[in-house]
C-alpha cells in the first residue's frame, strides 16, 4: 500500500471512529440535583467497564439508584487495564470523594493498599473478603483495614432456591450442575442447589462436576452433555463461560437450564429458550445499600452479606417459562424463600 493509500485508510478509520463516538450515548448521565453537601461516591470498575452486562454494570446501576434516590454525587472510572486500579482509586481519593467502591476480586490488593493510605475515605469492594487465605496464615490486611466493607453474597441461599425449582421441574429425577473452579462462592452455589433439590425430592440424583476454569465453554458443554446422557433434565451452569457451555448443552438437547449471577435470559439470549430462571446476585442492591448505610453513618468495616433476608440475592423472573412452571413449583420456591428468610430452613452449607 502506497503512502497515499495508507493515508486514505487512516483518514477513513478516523472518520469512522469520530462517527462512532458521536453516535455513542453519553457515558455519564446528568448528575441529579445534589443536596447542599452531597456525598461523593466514586465507582472504579474492572476492565469489563460499565456496560459489561454483569457485575460492573450492575454495580453502576446501584450507584445510579443512589444518585436518584439519595441525591449523592456519583461518578465512575473504567479501568482500562489491571495496572490502572491504584491510579483510578487515587483519582477519586484526591478529588475529595467520601466513598469509593471497587468491583471484583482482582482489585482486592489495590483496594487494601489505598484504604490504608486514605483512612478517612470509606471503601467497599464487591466479591472480595479480607480473611486469611489458608488456615494459620496471618491476614496482611485484617488488623488495619478499618475503612473497608466487603460486599459478599449468600450464594448457598439462592442456590437452594434454584435447586428447589430444579427438583420440582425435573421429570427424570436427575439434575446436574456444571461448575467452575472449586472456590467458596461456587461451592456455596452447588451445595445450596443440591440441598434445595433434596428437600423437594429426597431421592433425587444431583450430579455435579467442578471444572478448573471459568472460561472453558467447550468443556462445560461436554460435561453438560454427559450429565444429560445420565438422565439429567435440568442443568445449573455455575461458572462463567464454563457454566454457559452447560446451558448450551441443555438448550441443544431440549432440556432445562438455570443461569447464574445475573438474569442470563437477558445477557445470554442464545439459550433463553431453555432458561427457567437464573440464580442472581443483586450487586446493584448491595451497592445501593452500602451507599445508603455510608450516607447515614451506619456502614461498618468487615463483611456485609447479601442474602434473601435483605433481598441481595434471588431468582430471576421465569420469563417464557412463567406459564409452563406449575403453581405447585412456584409455591414450593416461595415457601423455601420464606423458610430461608425466617431461618426455619438452613441451606446446609458450612464454611
Amino acid at each position: 500500500m502506497s503512502r497515499s493509500a495508507l493515508v486514505k485508510v487512516i483518514t477513513f478509520l478516523i472518520a469512522a471512529s469520530i462517527l462512532l463516538v458521536a453516535c455513542a450515548p453519553a457515558a455519564t448521565p446528568a448528575p441529579a440535583k445534589p443536596a447542599a453537601k452531597a456525598m461523593k461516591v466514586g465507582l472504579v470498575t474492572d476492565v469489563g467497564g460499565v456496560n459489561d452486562k454483569s457485575f460492573n454494570q450492575s454495580a453502576w446501576a446501584g450507584v445510579q439508584k443512589a444518585i436518584q434516590d439519595l441525591g449523592v454525587d456519583g461518578k465512575f472510572i473504567e479501568s482500562k487495564q489491571v495496572t490502572d486500579y491504584e491510579k483510578n482509586i487515587d483519582q477519586f481519593a484526591t478529588e475529595g470523594y467520601d466513598m469509593i467502591i471497587t468491583v471484583g476480586f482482582l482489585m482486592g490488593d489495590a483496594t487494601a493498599k489505598k484504604a490504608q493510605e486514605y483512612p478517612n475515605i470509606k471503601f467497599a469492594i464487591i466479591d472480595f473478603g479480607y480473611f486469611p487465605a489458608k488456615a494459620g496464615d496471618p491476614d496482611p490486611y485484617k488488623t488495619n483495614l478499618t475503612n473497608v466493607t466487603s460486599l459478599l453474597f449468600s450464594e448457598d441461599q439462592v442456590g437452594y432456591l434454584a435447586g428447589t425449582l430444579a427438583a420440582c421441574m425435573s421429570k427424570s429425577g436427575v439434575i446436574g450442575s456444571v461448575s467452575g473452579m472449586e472456590i467458596p462462592p461456587v461451592v456455596r452455589f452447588v451445595v445450596g442447589y443440591q440441598n434445595g433439590a433434596k428437600a423437594v425430592n429426597p431421592d433425587i440424583k444431583a450430579l455435579n462436576q467442578y471444572i478448573p476454569s471459568f472460561t472453558d465453554p467447550a468443556k462445560g458443554k461436554e460435561v453438560g452433555l454427559s450429565m444429560i446422557d445420565q438422565g439429567a433434565d435440568v442443568i445449573f451452569g455455575v461458572g462463567g463461560n464454563t457454566g454457559n457451555g452447560g446451558l448450551l448443552a441443555a438448550k441443544e438437547k431440549g432440556k432445562m437450564g438455570i443461569g447464574v449471577d445475573v438474569d442470563q435470559y437477558l445477557t445470554y439470549p442464545e439459550v433463553k429458550d431453555a432458561l427457567i430462571t437464573s440464580a442472581m446476585k443483586n450487586v446493584d442492591v448491595a451497592v445501593f445499600d452500602a451507599i445508603k448505610a455510608a450516607a447515614d453513618g451506619s456502614l461498618e468495616a468487615g463483611i456485609r452479606l447479601s442474602n434473601v433476608q435483605n433481598g441481595g440475592i434471588g431468582l430471576a423472573p421465569f420469563h417464557d417459562w412463567d406459564s409452563k412452571i406449575s403453581q405447585d413449583c412456584k409455591d414450593k420456591v416461595a415457601a423455601a424463600e420464606k423458610g430461608l428468610k425466617d431461618g426455619s430452613i438452613s441451606t446446609g452449607y458450612t464454611p
Binding site: 457515558a27 489491571v82 495496572t83 483510578n88 487515587d90 478529588e95 482482582l106 482486592g108 478448573p212
Partner: protein
C-alpha cells in the same frame, strides 16, 4: 528518504525544530477542535481541559503517572517506527508486549539467587528475546515466503493474547496457586525494576551508590568520547576526546553519587511510597537515543533504511533483503518485548489475567506522530501518556466522556497524515519533503 543524505548540512537542532512545527500545530489545532466539540455537546471545555491539565501534570503524582504511561508508548513507538524504517508494518506490538511481559515474569519468579543487576538484566533480556522471536516469525515469513507481515503480526497478536489467557488463567501453568485471583506469582525482589520511591532503600549502602556512580561514569565516558570524536575535534590539548570523556565521566559520576546520597532530602517521588514512577522511563529515553544511533550512525541502520526506501535498489547494491526484513522485525519485536518487561517489572511485578492495555495499537499512532523519528517518539509518547493519564480526571470533573480524548488523538493523526491542512491553515511553507515510505504493497 532524501533527508538522510544531507542530514549533516542543516544543524540537527534546526532540523529537529523544523520537524516539530507541524506536529505541534496539529496538537494545538486538535485541542481547539476538541474544545469546540465539547462546547457543541453542552460541556464546558475550560473545566474539561483544566481537569486534563491537573490530571496529567499538576495533581499529586499526576506527572509521575503520566511518565509511567509514557514509558510503554516510547518503547512501543520505537518498535513500530523501526519496522516502518525498513518498510515493514509491525502491527503486532501489542502481542509482543504481552509475550515480553510473560517472559520477564517467568524469569523473575523462576530464577533465584542472582544479584539484582544480573537477574534484572536476565529478565529484561528474556523479554527482548521473546518479543524478537514473536515478531521474527512474521518477519521471516515475509522475507522468505512473501506472506504479508500485517496479517501475520495481527494473527500473532491473537496467539499471544490467548496464550497469555491460558498461561495465567485459572488453571494455567503460570498461575500462582496461592492466590485466589488468576495471576502469576510475584517476581523476586532482585528482578524488580526499581521505582524511584524504592531507590533510597536500595541505595542505602555507600558501596551500592559508588557502583551505580561508576556505571554512570563509564557510560558517560563512552558516549561523550564518541560524540566528541564525531565533532572532529583534534587529539591535542584538553579538547582531546579522551580527556573530555574522562572529565565528563568524573563529573557525572560525582553528581550521581551526591544525588543518590541525598534522595531522602529531595523527597517527592523518592519518598512517596505510592508513587509508581520507575526507572523504565529513563531507560526508555536511553533506548530511544540508542535506536536513533543505530538507525543513523551504523551500517545496520543504513541497510535497514535503504531496504525501507527501495528494496530493489538495496538488492542491487548487494544488501540482503531477507536478512534486513528478519532483523528489522526482530529488533522491532525486541523493543516491544522490552516494553512489556519494563512495564511488568516496574509496575505490578506479576502478570494478571486480562492485562490488555491497548498500548500496542496506540503506539502505531505514536510512531506516525513522530514521523518515525526515534527522538521525536519521546515527545510523541509523552503527549499520548499525558492525554491517557489526564483523561480520567477530565471526565470526572467536567462530565465529558473521555472518548473525546480519542477524538483529539485522531484529529492529531489526521493532521499529521495530511500536513497540508496545517500548512494551509497556518500558512507555513513546506520544508524539504521528508517522505518516509511507511509500507509497501500487499506482497
Amino acid at each position: 528518504m532524501s533527508n538522510h543524505n544531507d542530514f549533516e548540512k542543516t544543524s540537527p537542532w534546526g532540523l529537529f525544530l523544523q520537524q516539530l512545527i507541524v506536529p505541534a500545530l496539529a496538537v494545538v489545532t486538535a485541542l481547539v477542535l476538541g474544545a469546540i466539540i465539547m462546547w457543541a455537546t453542552g460541556n464546558d471545555p475550560l473545566v474539561a481541559y483544566r481537569g486534563l491539565l491537573d490530571g496529567a501534570f499538576l495533581k499529586k503524582r499526576a506527572l509521575s503517572e503520566t511518565l509511567v504511561a509514557t514509558t510503554p508508548y516510547i518503547f512501543l513507538g520505537l518498535a513500530v517506527a523501526f519496522g516502518f524504517k525498513c518498510g515493514l508494518f509491525n502491527i503486532g506490538a501489542e502481542g509482543q508486549f504481552y509475550i515480553g511481559q510473560l517472559a520477564a515474569v517467568w524469569v523473575g519468579y523462576n530464577v533465584h539467587g542472582l544479584p539484582a543487576i544480573l537477574h534484572l538484566t536476565l529478565a529484561l533480556g528474556a523479554a527482548i528475546v521473546a518479543g524478537a522471536i514473536w515478531s521474527g516469525i512474521p518477519g521471516y515469513l515475509r522475507a522468505k515466503l512473501g506472506s504479508h507481515e500485517v496479517i501475520n503480526t495481527i494473527m500473532m497478536n491473537y496467539i499471544a493474547i490467548y496464550l497469555a489467557d491460558y498461561l495465567v488463567g485459572l488453571s494455567g501453568p503460570m498461575r500462582d496457586p496461592a492466590s485466589s485471583a488468576p495471576q502469576t506469582p510475584a517476581v523476586d525482589a532482585s528482578a524488580q525494576l526499581p521505582r524511584l520511591s524504592e531507590l533510597p532503600a536500595l541505595m542505602a549502602s555507600p558501596v551500592t551508590r559508588f557502583t551505580a556512580a561508576l556505571l554512570v561514569a563509564v557510560f558517560a565516558f563512552i558516549v561523550v568520547r564518541w560524540w566528541w570524536q564525531q565533532r572532529g575535534n583534534s587529539l591535542r590539548g584538553w579538547r582531546n576526546p579522551w580527556v573530555v570523556g574522562l572529565i565528563s565521566a568524573g563529573g557525572l559520576g560525582l553528581i550521581t553519587y551526591v544525588f543518590l546520597s541525598s534522595l531522602n532530602r529531595i523527597g517527592g517521588p523518592f519518598t512517596d511510597r505510592a508513587d509508581r514512577l520507575h526507572l523504565g522511563f529513563f531507560l526508555a529515553i536511553l533506548v530511544a537515543v540508542l535506536v536513533w544511533w543505530i538507525l543513523e550512525k551504523t551500517t545496520l541502520g543504513f541497510e535497514v533504511r535503504t531496504v525501507g526506501a527501495s528494496p530493489e535498489a538495496a538488492e542491487y547494491a548487494g544488501i540482503s533483503i531477507v536478512r534486513n526484513f528478519v532483523l528489522a522485525m526482530a529488533i522491532s519485536g525486541g523493543l516491544a518485548g522490552l516494553a512489556g518487561g519494563v512495564e511488568v517489572l516496574g509496575l505490578e511485578r506479576n502478570v494478571k489475567s486480562f492485562f490488555s492495555a491497548g498500548y500496542g495499537f496506540d503506539s502505531i499512532a505514536v510512531a506516525l506522530l513522530a514521523n518515525n523519528n526515534p527522538l521525536g517518539i519521546i515527545p510523541a509518547g509523552f503527549l499520548f501518556g499525558a492525554l491517557r493519564n489526564g483523561a480520567d480526571l477530565m471526565e470526572l470533573r467536567a462530565g465529558v466522556s473521555k472518548q473525546i480524548i480519542l477524538v483529539v488523538q485522531a484529529l492529531v493523526l489526521m493532521f499529521i497524515a495530511a500536513p497540508v491542512i496545517i500548512r494551509k491553515l497556518y500558512r507555513i511553507r513546506a520544508i524539504r519533503e521528508e517522505g518516509v515510505q511507511l509500507t509497501r504493497g500487499w506482497g
